[in-house]
Symmetry: C2
């Protein structure tokens, strides 16, 4: 079973990397870019075939390793 995980910074957390991209786009001539936020994206291949069990496992993975829940949100999508 394949899963996709998006990890994004919580609102209010500064994102200097996103800001750098925003400024770079501006100086490259792209106008009207009002904001860029960078996050992380993971594709996980699981042997588990039960959707409910897989979701529980993925949540634990996110809480314990993949996301820093103090400053980051995560979203799990099962395919």
């Amino acid at each position: 079973m394949k899963a996709k995980i998006k990890v994004t910074l919580k609102n209010g957390v500064l994102d200097p990397q996103g800001k750098a991209i925003e400024h770079a786009l501006g100086s490259m001539g792209f106008s009207g870019v009002n904001g860029v936020r960078q996050g992380k994206f993971f594709e996980v291949e699981l042997a588990e075939t039960d959707k409910a069990k897989a979701e529980v496992m993925l949540k634990q993975m996110c809480e314990k390793l993949i996301a820093n829940t103090v400053i980051e949100n995560y979203a799990i999508e099962l395919a």
Copy 2:
């Protein structure tokens, strides 16, 4: 207009960061993890309101700055 961009490594491109996460999950007791690939995720806020124009602009941004098209694929999603 908000856009989401996913940047993922092409098939066949080595992903040591993903491999490290895979091994870490294994040693933390998560069994049945057959693969992890890490990518990047961007949220872009555009002043442009025309969907077609925004898509053209986002494609150019990806080709020129956000993705390295030699080793990465990108997917644009307009909300």
